[in-house]
């Protein structure tokens, strides 16, 4: 805990070394997964090839045969994208109304929306299965996965958009109203261009949450609409002999999202703490 004035020479050298060491330790499991993905399944469990081995792309090239990777990946892309689009389509008008025409109840509505996020999913698992299987006949469809992903992320989307919209001066919107622009025009021509950055990061974060969701996507699908979470979860058994291929498919499943995540660190804080930490 070096204070501002008490920096010593030793501290100046030691501090970055400690910080880098901690960071590398935290990153190590991810590094190890990527590293192992270039080993053959046989090499991956041999201590003599722990660090030195002949790298191979075989695991990536065989991903389709071994795991049918692309089918699951495409399902993940489809469901996460559409869920994000729908969440924004429903969320933007709602957040717009709450930010620019707040009533006495707006605060309560926002807090209530958040409270729906806190319902433990396991508590309503069976009713969801029961309804979607027996009555609605939408079990294991893309439609269902998209709907559920959209609903579980809607509170966060509205909350994030609300915090962004609130920062836009009300006068700009009111000026538009004076000029006789209708509501749709206000949203499309005034609000969206101004809140573009906030909108993009909200979408990005929503997409990441959809992609990583592991409860509903696993429980409400079997084959048709199964996503990458389901694929990985299905390979939970001790697969000692398949570390190489398992690493490759895992890397392919998380790689794009980890990289996307690097770009929205700041928004993550806002999105996950609902603007309570600045």
């Amino acid at each position: 805990m070096a204070a501002i004035g008490s920096r010593s020479k030793l501290g100046d050298i030691l501090w970055p070394v400690v910080a880098w060491t901690v960071a590398l330790i935290f990153f190590f499991p991810i590094f190890w997964m990527v590293f192992t993905s270039f080993k053959t399944d046989a090499d991956a469990v041999k201590p003599e090839f722990l660090f030195f081995f002949t790298p191979t792309l075989e695991n990536y090239l065989n991903m389709t045969e071994n795991y049918d990777y692309w089918r699951f990946a495409i399902n993940s892309v489809i469901t996460a994208s559409f869920a994000t689009i729908f969440a924004l389509a429903v969320g933007v008008p709602a957040a717009y109304a709450m930010a620019f025409n707040p009533t006495k109840r707006t605060k309560d509505v926002l807090v209530w929306m958040l409270s729906t996020k806190m319902l433990p999913a396991a508590a309503v698992l069976y009713p969801m299965t029961y309804l979607t299987k027996n009555f609605l006949n939408i079990f294991d469809t893309h439609f269902l996965v998209i709907l559920v992903l959209c609903l579980i992320n809607l509170p966060i989307v509205i909350w994030m958009l609300f915090t962004y919209f609130k920062e836009i001066p009300k006068e700009i919107i009111e000026a538009g109203q004076m000029d006789g622009v209708n509501t749709w025009g206000e949203i499309k021509d005034i609000l969206l261009p101004l809140a573009w950055g906030g909108l993009a990061s909200t979408a990005l974060l929503c997409f990441i949450f959809c992609w990583n969701e592991a409860y509903w996507t696993v429980r409400l699908t079997t084959t048709e609409a199964a996503t990458l979470s389901k694929l990985i979860e299905g390979n939970r058994a001790p697969e000692g002999l398949f570390f190489g291929r398992l690493s490759a498919v895992s890397t392919a499943a998380v790689g794009p999202i980890v990289v996307l995540g690097w770009f929205c660190q700041k928004q993550l804080v806002q999105g996950l703490t609902f603007g309570a930490v600045k």
């Binding site: 805990m1 501002i4 008490s6 499991p29 806190m118 433990p120 508590a123 996307l260 603007g275």
Partner: protein, 313 residues
Amino acid sequence: MNNRTIARLLQTPAVLLLLVWMLVPLGLTLYFSFLRYVLNSLRKPEWTVPQLSNWRGFGNYEYVLYKSKDFWFAIQNSLLIVGSILVITVVLGLAIAILVNRSFPGRGIVRVLLISPFFVMPAVNAVLWINMILDPVLGLNGLAIEGLNHLVAGLKDFPILGHFFALWPELEPISFRATQTSAYAVIMMVAWQWTPFAVLIFMTSLQSEDQQQKEAALLDGASAWAQFVYLTIPHLARPIAIVVMIQSIFHLSLYAEIEIVSRGNGNKNLPYLIGEFTSNNIGAASATGIFAVILANIVAIFLLRMVGKNLVD
């Protein structure tokens, strides 16, 4: 139409969707929790259909509370897992946030490396840790212990010093697939994933700390420790509370990690127990679900109060 009507109309789809999403499944869970309802029953086939004539009152609740010994174990285990994760992530998160709050070469890269685990999907996190890192034979856990034993065995051949190392026992790698150890495995992997979250939030908050106040304290001769205890900790009180509450809500419904790590070995938390009941006894599953909702609500009320207060009218 005036503005108010339009505003109300614009909110309607979101409100309606969330209302249905919240009320319908929860209402059904509540209804099922008062019924005798099982998926398979040769003796009483009428119990396989949810209907009012199978009304059981609070029977399912009594069954869960008093007759199924798993319930209290699951509650205890849920609290053990959530509590341990909270302590680890907050302490580590604070330390690391302070560590990277100072400028040094490559700070940007360090931040990127630190935050990465948070974006790994839970299923991959669990599969990666339990197989490649913690497996007692093939994982790094096993390899490291084996290497250590090898090293000690080599040292035994040294003159004089060898007598000392000869006293060392052969080390056994810990297996993380037993009931209690697999709970530790879950704690480890979730703490790895969520410490970055705590770091990120504490870091954001540290940047808004009043530097002038710190400099004034320095001029008054306050030690670094005193500054930390009397200035930084009070400044971080709110973010710490938020980290604790958000994580509690997420980790109380932990599922994927438990399922992957400890399938069938007896390690369970509340959501996992509900999953087990769901394979046949829907009545008990629903009653347990209602308990889970109550538990989550206790935490949620505090969080919502805090977040709600923050809204600028």
